[in-house]
């Protein structure tokens, strides 16, 4: 953060979204058109945690998925910058996008999608190796992260497919945040956790931003947003309708974002 203040020019945002639109054509439902995003502009800088708020169907997850290209954006741009250059994600060839996914930017959903016959420690360590960590270092880091998220050590080598929903979600969060890329998209990453485990998970997410990761997140509860977000963007009908620090924005969202 200090280096940013010393720079004559502020560093450009890690992520810049401009005019992003998404409409779905449901060919098998009379060719019906459904608008998901109606032109979104958004910046996320290093060390910033931007929370997306709004009722369900407002376009929060659609925005994350369009940036990650799990959804094919219909129009607009999403530019990802690193110290060495920038890429426009919506126009990147599939093979190139697949090559930088997970390494340059990551997506953490609420569900663990891993090989059914792998243990938690192996899943998290492999995620680290995929981001260039040495296997031994990755295994060590995976252990630290699982311990921090209170995943019982006796479960580390059990097939992850037999873990509980909350355990799987913590394994998923550990895998998504080990040796984190410069931009993380978080989609309800703590939705299945009980209060104690949720607390540990929120602390881990808070540490990401303090280590300079740019975070764009969707949480279903205002409390998590109030604690973690440096800025809240309120969405309605596929647009951002309000933006500001959590203290200013969240108080009149009671009952909307829950």
């Amino acid at each position: 953060m200090n280096s940013q203040q010393q720079d004559a020019q502020p560093r450009p945002p890690v992520l810049s979204v401009r005019g992003l639109r998404k409409h779905f054509v449901l060919h098998n439902v009379d060719g019906r058109n459904v608008n998901g995003l109606n032109g979104v502009d958004l910046d996320v800088s290093a060390g910033e945690h931007v929370a997306l708020a709004g009722s369900s169907g407002a376009g929060k997850s659609t925005l994350l998925k369009c940036i990650y290209r799990t959804y094919l954006p219909s129009a607009g741009t999403a530019t990802l910058r690193s110290p060495t250059g920038e890429v426009e994600l919506t126009a990147l060839a599939d093979a190139e996008l697949a090559g930088i996914r997970g390494r340059q930017f990551g997506y953490v959903s609420q569900f663990l999608r891993a090989e059914p016959r792998r243990g938690a420690l192996d899943i998290v360590a492999r995620a680290g190796v995929a981001r260039g960590m040495d296997r031994a270092v990755a295994t060590e880091a995976a252990a630290v992260s699982l311990r921090r998220l209170n995943v019982d050590e006796s479960l580390w080598d059990v097939f992850a497919s037999v873990l509980s929903g909350g355990e799987k979600q913590r394994v998923n969060l550990a895998a998504g945040t080990i040796s984190p890329p410069q931009l993380l998209l978080l989609d309800e990453p703590v939705s299945a956790l009980d209060p104690a485990n949720r607390e540990a998970a929120l602390e881990l997410i808070s540490d990401l931003t303090s280590h300079g990761v740019a975070v764009l997140a969707v949480f279903h509860d205002l409390d998590a947003m109030a604690r973690l977000a440096s800025r809240v963007e309120v969405m309605r009908d596929g647009r951002i309708v309000e933006s500001g620090p959590p203290g200013e924005v969240l108080h009149h969202l009671e009952g909307v974002a829950r």
Binding site: R69, L72, S82, T84, A95, E96, L97, P116, G132
Partner: protein
């Protein structure tokens, strides 16, 4: 361009590949495909099993081909493997010596040589990839000797290493493959396919026909091998779970044509073509 982006070299490039069975009448192409609702020409003399199929695969990447029975996905794989001759197109492959060859213009003997150590195939039916009346060790040794290995001790050692890696109990090494279960046969087939460290491996429905729990184990093994060995893979399957687990990009075929190509998660979560939307909806239901 972002600096650390590890773009790996393309090792297989399929260009406008086509295969017509029966009369090689070019007019059949316009009369077939998704719009015509069939891969068979109206007069019944030609079957356009695959047409205008293009894709490329880099080392360390797995590319999926998904479709229903008769969509042409296995035809594509067999044309690349050389099991079928092709009617049109090119299949460019980066060779070990750094040169590039079009597999479709090679002589049969050149193609057989290629299958020894540069391009391996894992078939749905293990009987196609293995000699069932030979031992597990013998099936692997056959590949190693074809590649020029003559030292008996080294062959045994490498065969044992491969069987261990594919989780075949070593005490079964000298048993005939026909005494093996379906899942175990697939593991031996994998061991044989990988024997000479080929840079490209084609998988044709590698887990179809296996019990669900056995299929999960074989799938997990394939996934690990792909991660560790950095090979370029083409995975052909009708099973969404297989394509989802193994590949990062894929294409959908119907009536011999490609209807859609994209990132695997995008294709399943935001399919664009009407046919893919129907296919995904049916698989998720």
């Amino acid at each position: 361009m972002i600096g650390a982006s590890p773009m790996r070299p393309t090792v297989l490039r399929v260009e406008q590949l086509g295969k017509i069975f029966g009369s090689q009448d070019p007019a059949a192409v316009a009369q077939t495909g998704p719009d015509a609702g069939s891969e068979k020409s109206p007069d019944g003399s030609s079957v356009v099993a695959a047409w205008d199929v293009s894709f490329d695969v880099a080392s360390g990447e797995a590319f999926g081909v998904i479709g229903e029975s008769g969509s042409g996905k296995s035809t594509v794989m067999r044309a690349i493997a050389g099991d079928h001759s092709a009617s049109a197109g090119s299949v460019w492959m980066q060779r070990r010596d750094g040169s590039t060859s079009d597999l479709l213009t090679m002589s049969p003997s050149e193609r057989r040589a290629l299958r020894v150590d540069e391009l391996a195939v894992v078939y749905q039916d293990a009987a196609e990839g293995l000699d069932l009346n030979v031992t597990a060790g013998g099936n692997i040794a056959d590949r190693l000797t074809a590649a020029g290995c003559r030292h008996f001790g080294q062959i045994r050692e490498r065969a044992a290493e491969l069987l261990e890696r594919t989780e075949v109990p070593l005490d079964r090494m000298d048993d005939l493959v026909r005494t093996f279960s379906g899942g175990m046969r697939q593991r031996v087939q994998l061991a044989r396919a990988l024997a000479n460290r080929p840079p490209i491996v084609l998988f044709d429905e590698p887990t179809t026909g296996l019990d669900a729990s056995v299929a999960a184990g074989v799938l997990d093994l394939i996934r690990s091998l792909l991660e560790e060995l950095g090979i370029a893979a083409v995975v052909v399957s009708h099973d969404f779970a297989v394509i989802e687990m193994l590949t990062s990009r894929c294409m959908v075929m119907q009536h011999g044509r490609v209807v859609e190509q994209g990132l695997t998660d995008q294709l399943f979560e935001d399919p664009q073509a009407p046919y893919t939307q129907r296919l995904v909806a049916a698989a998720r239901a």
